[in-house]
Homo-oligomer: 211 residues x 2
Amino acid sequence: MPTPLPGRLIALEGIDGSGKSTQARILERQPMLTVTAEPGATALGTRLRHLLLDPGLPAVATRTEALLLAADRAQHVAEVVEPALAAGRWVVTDRFSGSSLAYQGYGRGLDLDDLRRLVAWATGGIEPDLNLLVDIPLDVAGRRRAGAAADRLESLGDDFLERVRSGYLALAAADPERWAVIDGTGHPDEVAHLVRAVLAQRLGTPPEPGR
Amino acid sequence: MPTPLPGRLIALEGIDGSGKSTQARILERQPMLTVTAEPGATALGTRLRHLLLDPGLPAVATRTEALLLAADRAQHVAEVVEPALAAGRWVVTDRFSGSSLAYQGYGRGLDLDDLRRLVAWATGGIEPDLNLLVDIPLDVAGRRRAGAAADRLESLGDDFLERVRSGYLALAAADPERWAVIDGTGHPDEVAHLVRAVLAQRLGTPPEPGR
């Protein structure tokens, strides 16, 4: 088991269009939080993100995709997440291990236990203290995404996204200590209120800036 | 367990400068063999290879490197190796799973059992029928590489390469059914003679072209 680090790790999870990235930007205004995102938080990750989201690339095999996202996460942990947690900071990441389980597991059909082992190895055992699932129905997500150009991962069809959404809900139901579900259909300010309330209830108050 | 495929998989292994790539090119003259190499056998793999060998990139974490090489292998298996084996061909690959164990395990110090699990998952359980280790002392490899510009993986120093070479020899000693060691210090034609002899002894004769 890895040494417990003094900081706290919070992952925002959900399908594209759920509004979780908007929530990440709202949380970014709080100086006591380190806000980051996957894939692409590091220089190497940015190049992997381009590879993964390139609609022009020939079919990427399912396991290749899972391994590239795990590589992005390993680098993210090494460069960003672990140093911040070691310094006692609270880290909010837009996607983390839950995305692998929901997208590559429930969505693509890879075995969940295999993915858990892969992710645990890639992160050196670091997992979120709290996964915050911003849940919305597919039709709402679809309307929000309308007009934005679809990248390779987003152009997967409603059946796929329905499996991902149900997968997220199943992950949350199976592990209520590490997951919380909030309704993402409201105005971003309303959702932000829910996010703050859940964080305060589950984790208390973040450390003062400068700590 | 995966379905056994009708072809045969032969991996050429060894440190850079061992001459294994020269041997791969000699084997390529035989039309009954599919000759390939890692990393970079696929379009995606070529881009990963550039990432991995880029001396200008900031430090790539050890697990990130292992995961990127596993991703390259997963794509290599899906696009090249598995279809050829399914068609009954003999496939010779310049590097495969043994390179992960030797370089990322013995060289970088990652746990060997973790790496074996990672590699087995990436390949869907496909492993070489024969790993052919082209072994040479470090000083010979160094003289052969002199003049060639060192990439990031090649500029790792003699201590690292000594661990990799010893690691290869340990892997071969532990699994003599799946490994053979040949002396790579001779002229390429002499080494090619050894390669052909070991292949014939261990695996018999490749299928006729057109099969």
